[in-house]
Structure formats: C-alpha cells, structure tokens
C-alpha cells in the first residue's frame, strides 16, 4: 500500500467515478446529515403539498376531475412515503422527522405556502409546480445516494401524469369561455414567479450547493434547472394563448434560451422564514390530522395485538 489515503478522499474518488453510495457504505458524517436534511424536507414537501390541492376535492367540477384530483393527492402521500423510507436508510427515525416538521424546525418547499383560491389553480399547479418538480427530480435520478436515486425514478414515473392532468385542466379553461380563459390567466399570473423560486436561489447565494455538487448529490445548478424549465414552459403557455407575467421575457437567439426578469428574492426568503400566506395553516392542518388520526394508529396496534392473541390461542388449542 502506498500513501495513506483518508476515508474522505477514498469516498470522493468513489463518488467521482460515478459509483452509487448505498446505506451501509462508509460516508462522511456531513454527507449523511445533508442527505437526511434534503430527503426528509423533500418528503415533507410532498405531504404538505397534498393540502393546497385537497382544498378542491369536494368542489371539483366533474366526477372525472374529482377522481383524478383524488388520485394525484394520494400519489403525493405515496411519494412522501418513498422519501421517508429513503431517509430512514440513513438512520433517521420517522418520529423525529415528523416532530421536526410539526415544530417548524424542518423546512419544506416554499411553493406550498401559497393558497389555491380558484379551480384553475388545480391546473396551474400540475402544469408549473409539478413541472418544476419534474425538472429537479429527473436530475436527482442520477444523485449519488442509491436509495434516493431509486425513489426519484419511481416518483418521476408517476409525476408525469401529474403534469399532464394539470395542463389538461388549464387547456380546457384556456380554450373555453372568455371567463374561463381569464381564470386560467389569473391563476398563471399568481403561480409563475413562485414556481421559478422553487429552484432556489442562484448558486452563489446557495450555501450548500458547492459541497452538494462535489458529492454529486446535486447534478445541475439551480440556475441551470430554472433556465431549462423556462425554456420548456414558455411554448406551452404560448400554445394556449396565455401570457407569462414577465415583461422582460424574451427569446435570446445567441444563448438559445429565454432571457427573463428579476426574481423577487425578498418574497422567497420571507415565505421560507414563515411569513407566507399559508405557512401556519399548513402546519396546523398537519398537526390536526396527526392528532385526530391517533385513533387509527391505536386501532391498528390493538388489532395486531388481538390477531396475535388469536394465533396463540388457536395453536395452543
């Protein structure tokens, strides 16, 4: 054996060679901690994200629309589970993750702190919010941590239905009556900029980005993902005759991309800090559901005990 290569250096070489890290591999403590934080916050986002859309389940305009919305919200719960499972492989307990979410210690995606006052929002969210999530999640299918990458593959398969059903809703409205088209436009006006903020601040303002890229947790920069999303989405809006609320949006032939206006980062930081329109409501609802659902967990535990007792009885008999 030649020079003494540290464990950290070996790990970096392992990652540099595009090897995937699995649960029992040695990893730097910081790698483990940052992944626990990122994966659990991703899971929290899925579960909290159920709320803005669940808002319209009782008022969906048709049975078909109701079935679809129910299926989508159900999927988000499932996505939360895949991600909590992935986080648990790193040694974090589910109880702790839930406690951190409910106490406000853990964060979730800022986009879910906005309200959904119109049916059109059901379409816009699927189109833009899930669209932005897809951009990020496709990138994450190549993340260095195996369980996280595999969860992303599964989620991406399901996420494309989410975006298509959303776009279909917006399309129906945009191709409908003048009032319906106006509703679609009004919704787009409210969701466009928050959707761009989903990709996070520019990487020079994003403290975790550099190390994340080095460890190949993150494969593309926030700005790259944001630009890719804009370039894909502008033609989709144009197809519907809807106007993106950015007067500075302009095709740049030289770059082969759209130039766009300044993002209001004050709004982003304010919402992350807890001052968004729905932050308190989102957590209060989560706590309420958890507490009001305690009887289900108790019943399941009691049923398991009963079944076990029955088994012992019948084998003793």
């Amino acid at each position: 054996m030649g020079t003494n290569v540290s464990l950290e250096e070996q790990f970096q070489a392992f990652v540099d060679a595009e090897n995937k890290v699995e649960a029992k591999n040695w990893m730097p403590e910081k790698y483990r901690k940052t992944l626990i934080r990122q994966i659990s916050q991703h899971a929290h986002s899925e579960v909290i994200g159920m709320q803005p859309e669940a808002n319209w389940i009782t008022r969906a305009p048709s049975l078909r629309a109701k079935l679809i919305l129910l299926a989508k919200v159900q999927d988000e719960a499932g996505h939360g589970l895949y991600l909590y499972s992935a986080a648990e492989t790193l040694g974090e307990s589910r109880d702790k993750m839930i406690a951190d979410l409910q106490s406000g210690k853990a964060k979730y995606s800022s986009i879910f702190n906005y309200p959904t006052p119109s049916w059109a929002d059901m379409g816009t969210i699927g189109w833009l919010v899930d669209g932005a999530a897809i951009q990020n999640q496709v990138m994450l299918t190549r993340t260095s941590y195996g369980p996280y990458a595999r969860a992303m593959v599964k989620i991406c398969k399901e996420e494309s239905f989410h975006q298509r059903q959303g776009y279909e809703v917006v399309m129906k409205l945009a191709q409908g009556t003048p009032e319906q088209k106006a509703m679609a436009q009004e919704s787009l006006n409210r969701w466009w900029w928050p959707s761009l903020m989903m990709f996070g601040p520019s990487d020079d303002n994003s403290p975790n980005s550099e190390q994340s890229m080095k460890w190949k947790i993150k494969r593309k920069s926030n700005d790259t993902l944001r630009q890719e999303f804009i370039d894909k989405t502008v033609p989709q809006a144009e197809y519907l005759g809807l106007t993106i609320p950015d007067p500075d949006l302009k095709w740049n032939e030289e770059r082969g991309s759209y130039d766009f206006g300044e993002i209001n980062w004050d709004e982003f930081y304010n919402v992350i800090k807890g001052n968004g329109p729905c932050n308190k409501e989102r957590i209060a609802n989560h706590v309420k559901a958890h507490e009001e659902g305690a009887w289900v967990r108790e019943a399941a535990t009691a049923f398991a005990k009963k079944q076990a007792a029955r088994k012992t009885e019948s084998s003793a008999a």
Binding site: Q74, L81, A151, A300, F303, A304, Q307
Partner: protein, 95 residues
C-alpha cells in the same frame, strides 16, 4: 400515542410470474398482515406487481460493504468458470 414500536418492513414486488421479487422500499406497520395491506396501497397503485413480500428489516442479514474484497475477490481470478475462457473451433456447432 407513539408508533415507535411498529416494525420497519422491507417490501418486495414480483411484477409478473416468471420474474423475481424486487426490492421497492419500506414502510412501518404493527404486524405482517397490515404491512402487506399497506404495501398494496402504497407500492402497487399502478399494477406494479402480482405478488408482495414483506420482511421485517431486522430479519435481513447483509454483507458489510467493507468486507466486499475478502468476500468476493476469490471469484475474480477464477476465469475458467466463464464460457469465454474456452476456445472451441467455429466449425463445431451448438456450443
């Protein structure tokens, strides 16, 4: 009421007969039957499988990654276990 005592179960799905069960994730449940029912709800929404196995995570014994070399290198230099090691003339068919 805490569910901290609910076991963690690993979930495996066979997508169709003829194929093996594949690991798809995990979930918490108070017993095997509920683990199975929950696995059906959360891992087969799109007809991903026709058979589910749930196994308590604690029942799985795994080889340690840092024992990879002593465990597996003995196989690496036994090239003669592979068909390509043998030189059979092209004129000889069906081999």
């Amino acid at each position: 009421m805490s569910t901290a005592h609910w076991k963690l179960w690993e979930v495996f799905l066979r997508s169709k007969n003829g194929l093996s069960h594949k690991h798809v994730g995990s979930l918490h449940a108070p017993d095997a039957d509920m683990a199975l029912k929950n696995a059906r709800d959360v891992y087969t929404r799109r007809s991903e499988g026709i058979s589910i196995w749930v196994v308590p995570s604690e029942a799985i014994t795994a080889s340690a990654p840092d024992e990879k070399d002593p465990l597996f290198t003995p196989s690496d230099d036994k090239v003669y276990r592979h068909p390509t090691f043998y030189d059979i003339p092209d004129d000889v068919e069906h081999m």
